[in-house]
Every structure is written in structure tokens, then in C-alpha cells.
């Protein structure tokens, strides 16, 4: 019985091998013509609506949807209405790829999202293959838009957020110069490549400027208890604590740090930007904390004020940075469509690559040759419960 089965198997395996060789000669699938004359302009919104980072994805989605509604109410683009096709990528890279492919099948002219660098990476090959632009709201890893192996820019991938090196370096300079810190502790989100990136560049710049890193610790997404590590950090008595991560973890972290009697200044990146920071950590705990950001939601710039008001009116909540970035993605796309005077994905891509001085909610930006936005950074300080701009850094 067994030997016969084995013979069968051997035969089958041989068949497989032969066939696979033949199959390898098969040609590639032809490409469909994207675009075409349609009544609306379909825009893919491929974001995380379930899974680990569902809250970021849905906030960015809310921002993007608001932008689409505003544009449509103002008459649309090139006389056509935008149509946002919302899809959930489950916070998984392979699902992001699958969703992108499905969206491409629906003739989208561009895709907004996903949020995290990893999920954007999942989506990237599909966008590149089909030559349709992707605008990432919050993917900050340097290699999202640039292929590290070849050094070439990924032609169809854009973003509206800072990249990791910028923020980490900025905060290190600020800590060393403005706060005159000699020693620093890093306590970041190690489950996020974003926070890890910020931490790495902070460390590099801070040590270059003569500072010493006295402690390096990490937490992971979903953690709510930081007392143990904070107690340890307190023992090393740093002049400054760098906490790159997202507000969901950072807010309770800062609160617990202050409760333990840590008074050193604490700094972070744009992941801190949320109204929840103040409601969770409290105004008092947040004193003497700083973060790098694109803009301040309490900015008096009319563009920001209008956005915050419209967002509050529609969703009955305050926008966080993801919402603002999602909003800007759509606005940037609209500017590109207008400049290209076409809904052809290739022409939109070319226009995107040449965007100059686009005025978004998160600041004025110009897309550079690596498809990163060049925009001003601000260092925001929490003072008695409100965000105040401490320092403005022009690019």
C-alpha cells in the first residue's frame, strides 16, 4: 500500500516539475485601461478600520471624508464629484495589498492610506504596477517612498507627513540647546517602527551634540502600566525623557511619570497630538512637556480653525493629527487633479511630484524629489492645559 502510494507520489512530483517549467514560460497579465469617462472621480480610501490600529485608520478616514464632502459641496473638481471608496485593510499588510487590488479594479484615480508604514508597504507593489498614485497620511518610515536598495524614489508613492529623521533630530536639538539637557532617557513604543525611527535619530543627534543617553527602555502598543519602567528611569535621573509613541500610550505614561515624582521635561513626536492628551494626563502633568508637530490644532490660522470647527460639527469630537493628515491627503490630491487638469492617474502623479507651496491644515508643503513634503515643523509646549508654539523651525 505504502510503496504504491509512494510510487504515485514520485510520479506526480515529476509531473509537477515538468509542468512548472512549462508554466514558467507563461506571459504576464495584460493591463486594463484605468480611468475612462465616468460621472464621478473614484478615490480609494484604504485604511485600517479594524484590527490593532483601527482608531488611527478611522480618524484619518473621518478627515478624508470631511474633505471630500467639502470639495463636493463646493462644486467638486473639474466639474465632477469625488467619490470616496472606503475599504478596511484590517491593520494587516497582505489585506492592504488585497484591498488596493480590489480598488484598482474599481478604477480609482488615487488611493489615500493606509496609515502605518507596514501597511503602505503592502499596498505599494499594486500601486506601482498599476501606476496609480498612493498618498500616505502618516507613514513616516524613510523607506516608504524610497527604495533603500537602489536609492530610487518609488514613483507613485507620496506622503503628507514628516519622516522619522526630521522629528527625532529636531527634538534632540531642542533638548540639547533650548533645554540644556546633558543626559536623556529614551522610553519609546518599540512595537511601532515610527517610534523606533524617532528614537534612533534622537539618539544619534543627541549623542553627536555631546549628550549621554542614560537609559533606553520600551513599551508596546496597548500597554497601560508604565510604573515599573518609570521607577527605573527615575533612578537614572535624566535631564530629559524622550517618549516617541502615540497618545494612547503616552498620555497615561506621562501621568504616571508625574505621579511617581518625575519632574524632568518630557518630549515626543506628532503621535502625541490628540485632545486626549489633556483629558487623560491632565493639565498639570503635561506642564514641561514638548512635542514636534506639523501644526497646532489650537493654531489661529484660519485654515486650521475652519478645519477644527467643521470636524467638530460633523463628528462631535476634536480632530487628532491623523484626522488632519487624512484631510490634507484629499486636499493635496484635489490640488494635483486641478493642476493636471485631468483625472488620469499618470498625470495626477506627475502633478503630485511637482506640488509647490500647497497650503494644508498641517502646514505649507512642497513635495521634494523623494516624494516627502518639505514643511515647517513646530515644537509645541503644553502650558496649563493648552498647546502653545514654543519654537518654529522653517525647513
Amino acid at each position: 500500500m505504502i510503496s504504491r502510494r509512494n510510487k504515485k507520489l514520485a510520479f506526480l512530483l515529476a509531473m509537477m516539475l515538468v509542468l512548472s517549467i512549462f508554466a514558467g514560460c507563461g506571459g504576464q497579465a495584460g493591463e486594463e485601461e484605468p480611468g475612462g469617462e465616468t460621472a464621478t472621480i473614484p478615490v480609494g480610501i484604504n485604511v485600517e478600520l479594524s484590527g490593532a490600529v483601527a482608531s488611527y485608520g478611522s480618524n484619518a478616514r473621518d478627515g478624508a471624508v470631511l474633505a471630500i464632502e467639502e470639495i463636493n459641496a463646493a462644486g467638486g473638481v473639474l466639474g465632477k464629484q469625488l467619490e470616496g471608496l472606503q475599504r478596511d485593510c484590517k491593520s494587516i499588510a497582505d489585506e492592504a495589498m488585497s484591498v488596493s487590488a480590489a480598488l484598482v479594479g474599481e478604477n480609482i484615480v488615487a488611493q489615500i492610506g493606509p496609515l502605518t508604514s507596514g501597511n503602505v508597504a503592502g499596498s505599494t507593489p499594486i500601486m506601482m504596477e498599476n501606476k496609480i498614485p498612493l498618498i500616505a497620511p502618516a507613514a513616516t518610515a524613510a523607506n516608504v517612498t524610497v527604495d533603500e536598495k537602489t536609492g530610487e524614489t518609488r514613483g507613485y508613492i507620496f506622503r503628507v507627513c514628516f519622516i522619522d529623521p526630521f522629528q527625532g533630530t529636531l527634538m534632540a536639538q531642542f533638548a540639547a540647546e533650548n533645554l540644556e539637557a546633558k543626559t536623556a532617557a529614551i522610553y519609546g513604543d518599540t512595537s511601532s517602527d515610527y517610534a523606533k525611527g524617532l528614537a534612533a535619530y534622537f539618539k544619534e543627534t543627541f549623542t553627536e551634540m555631546g549628550g549621554t543617553i542614560v537609559a533606553e527602555e520600551g513599551f508596546v502598543k496597548g500597554d497601560r502600566d508604565f510604573n515599573a519602567t518609570l521607577t527605573k528611569i527615575k533612578g537614572s535621573n535624566p535631564d530629559f525623557i524622550y517618549v516617541p509613541g502615540y497618545y494612547e500610550e503616552v498620555a497615561p505614561l506621562i501621568k504616571q511619570a508625574r505621579e511617581l515624582g518625575i519632574t524632568a521635561p518630557i518630549g515626543g513626536g506628532d503621535g502625541w497630538d490628540s485632545p486626549d492628551m489633556i483629558s487623560v494626563a491632565g493639565a498639570e502633568a503635561l506642564n514641561n512637556t514638548f512635542f514636534t508637530n506639523h501644526y497646532s490644532s489650537q493654531d489661529t490660522d484660519p485654515k486650521v480653525v475652519d478645519f477644527v470647527e467643521a470636524f467638530k460639527a460633523k463628528y462631535n469630537k476634536e480632530p487628532d493629527s491623523f484626522a488632519a493628515l487624512g484631510y490634507d491627503c484629499v486636499q493635496l490630491l484635489v490640488q494635483a487633479i486641478t493642476e493636471a487638469n485631468s483625472t488620469d492617474p499618470q498625470k495626477i502623479t506627475d502633478a503630485l511630484a511637482n506640488i509647490k507651496d500647497f497650503q494644508g491644515v498641517t502646514g505649507k508643503m512642497t513635495i521634494d524629489e523623494q516624494h516627502n513634503p518639505v514643511k515647517a515643523g513646530v515644537i509645541i509646549e503644553f502650558k496649563d492645559g493648552s498647546q502653545t508654539v514654543n519654537t518654529r523651525i522653517q525647513p
Binding site: L12, M15, A23, M97, A121
Partner: protein, 316 residues
């Protein structure tokens, strides 16, 4: 007697059907009849089939509840990417390396833990799976939590299809051999089979290692199709997904596992539009199927020629 004399003919028929199916899809792919979305679904389908069928060997046939399958998949994925992308060796080396590494990991995990029974084994394997993930997250060589991005796409339809068929064949043949009967006897009554002189530990470890190797194979194919791998992808929820396929199909039914894997893959695709609601629908599907058909779609029966001949009213 008739069965035996016909077996070569039937075998040839099987081969023709398999090859025909392969060629048909291959033709459709090369003629551009399958859009990209379905190409990806097809890929997920094959990978899920490999995962479900191999997990079914451990959970269904051997009766050992394992919740760490995603960990072995991760090892296969990471090791193969190191081989193909970091060391620039051919894909076949990556496949062999990935399977071997996952198999070794299966052995290392299996030998101590398979002494445990039931829920204790479940939690121990879950713990091992999570440890693998945490360790990967802390290895800078593979970029920690960010994962490896820009993996060369080497997984093609022939690889996927024949890997899935290969997995099914090996496991079906294993289960039809004396090894298979020993394995099933462990599930039915471990003490009794031990008294019959079966070295139960040996067979449990064997099944576990084979299962882990195929999980590794699925990982290799996954990594070389989906462009990026991250430790987070292989968390315990991924193991749960695989378990769901196995139980939905019917524990101890290879055809059931295949059907469930295909069904779940299409369900996932069909629900993409429904945002968070998709997970509610998915959850309800699970609960309802379990309440009304707790033995799974197929029970422990197989869908085979006999099933069909029964339907056609043929001889018994």
C-alpha cells in the same frame, strides 16, 4: 478487489484533473482573465489551504490542540527571506531552508510541550508562538517591529498550486499509512494506544514537526508574495484564524479544511467594504456555524469519489 485493479486508472484520472485545473488557471492568468484582486485571493487561498491542512494534521488527526501555528509560519517566512534576499540564493533554497527551520522549531517546541495535554498544550503552544514573535520583534538584523520590506516576488501560481497539492498529498498519504493509523489512535485514546505498544510521543512529535514544516512552507510563499513581513502579522490572532478554518471544515477532515480555507478567503474578500461590520459578520458566522454544526462542515468525513458516487446513486 475491484478497487485495487481500478486504482491505477483512478490515479491517472486524478492526475489529469489536477493538471487540468492547474493549466486552466494558468491559462486564465496568462490571458489576463483574472484581475489582480482575484490573483491575490487565489494566493491567499493556496496559502490558507496549506495552513489549514497542516494544522488539521496536528489538531484534527492527532488531536493535539496547538495554538502556535503562526509562529512556525513566521519562522518559515523570516528564514526564507534571509536566504533569498539577504544571501541572494535561489527561491528553492529559501523554500527548503524555511521549511527546515520551521521543522526544527517544531521539534524544539514539540518535544517538551507534547507531554502536556489538552488545554495545557494549547496554552503552551500559544505561549511559544508569542515568544517567537517577541523575539523577532527584538532582532535588529530583521528590522524588529518594522519588518522586512521590499521582498522580491518569487511566489507564482505554479509554486502556490503545487505546494498546496504537495501538502495535501503528503498529509493524505501519511494518514493512509500505518503512521496515520497510529496517529489517529492517539486521538481516539492515548492510553489505549500506548498500551498497544505505540510510541505516542514519537508520533505526536512527528505530526507536530510535519505540521510545522508545512506552516513554514506557507510562510515562505506568503513572504515572497506579499512584499513585506512583520512580526505583528504572525500574532496569536493569526493562529486563531487558522484554527477557525480547521474547526469550521471539520476536525480531522482534509477536504473539510480545504473547503473552509477557500470559504474563509472569499468571505474576507467579500466583506472588505463593510469596515468594522465585516468582523461582526465574521464572528456571527463562526458562532452560528458552531451552534448548528459543531462538528464543522464536513465532520471528520472526507469528500471523495465515494461521496459523489453515493450522490449519483452508484454502487456502494
Amino acid at each position: 478487489m475491484q478497487e485495487k485493479s481500478k486504482s491505477w486508472l483512478q490515479f491517472l484520472l486524478e492526475v489529469i484533473v489536477l493538471v487540468l485545473l492547474f493549466t486552466l488557471v494558468q491559462y486564465a492568468l496568462s490571458a489576463g482573465l483574472v484581475n489582480q484582486s482575484y490573483q491575490i485571493t487565489l494566493t491567499s487561498m493556496c496559502i490558507n489551504v496549506i495552513l489549514a491542512v497542516s494544522l488539521n494534521l496536528i489538531n484534527g488527526f492527532t488531536g493535539q490542540l496547538s495554538l502556535g501555528h503562526a509562529g512556525f509560519m513566521a519562522i518559515g517566512a523570516y528564514v526564507s527571506v534571509i536566504i533569498t534576499n539577504f544571501m541572494d540564493l535561489p527561491f528553492i533554497a529559501g523554500i527548503l531552508g524555511g521549511c527546515l527551520a520551521a521543522g526544527i522549531a517544531g521539534f524544539v517546541v514539540g518535544v517538551p510541550t507534547l507531554r502536556l495535554k489538552g488545554d495545557y498544550l494549547a496554552i503552551a503552544t500559544l505561549a511559544f508562538g508569542e515568544i517567537i514573535r517577541v523575539v523577532l520583534q527584538n532582532i535588529d538584523y530583521v528590522n524588529g517591529p518594522a519588518g522586512i520590506m521590499g521582498i522580491t516576488k518569487l511566489t507564482t501560481w505554479p509554486w502556490l498550486y503545487w505546494a498546496a497539492i504537495f501538502t495535501i498529498l503528503i498529509i493524505v498519504n501519511l494518514m493512509n499509512s500505518s503512521y496515520g493509523r497510529a496517529i489517529v489512535s492517539i486521538r481516539e485514546d492515548e492510553v489505549a494506544s500506548e498500551l498497544m505498544g505505540i510510541n505516542t510521543t514519537r508520533y505526536k512529535v512527528l505530526a507536530f514537526v510535519i505540521g510545522a514544516m508545512f506552516a513554514g512552507l506557507a510562510g515562505v510563499l506568503y513572504a515572497h508574495y506579499f512584499y513585506i513581513i512583520r512580526p505583528e502579522t504572525f500574532n496569536f490572532l493569526k493562529s486563531f484564524d487558522m484554527l477557525v478554518m480547521v474547526v469550521l471544515g471539520g476536525l480531522g477532515s482534509t477536504t473539510g479544511a480545504i473547503i473552509a480555507a477557500v470559504f474563509i478567503t472569499f468571505l474576507t474578500l467579500a466583506l472588505q467594504k463593510y469596515a468594522a461590520m465585516r468582523m461582526v459578520i465574521y464572528a456571527l458566522t463562526l458562532i452560528i456555524v458552531m451552534i448548528y454544526r459543531p462538528q464543522g462542515l464536513m465532520g471528520n468525513k472526507e469528500l471523495s469519489r465515494k461521496t459523489f458516487s453515493g450522490i449519483w446513486g452508484g454502487r456502494k
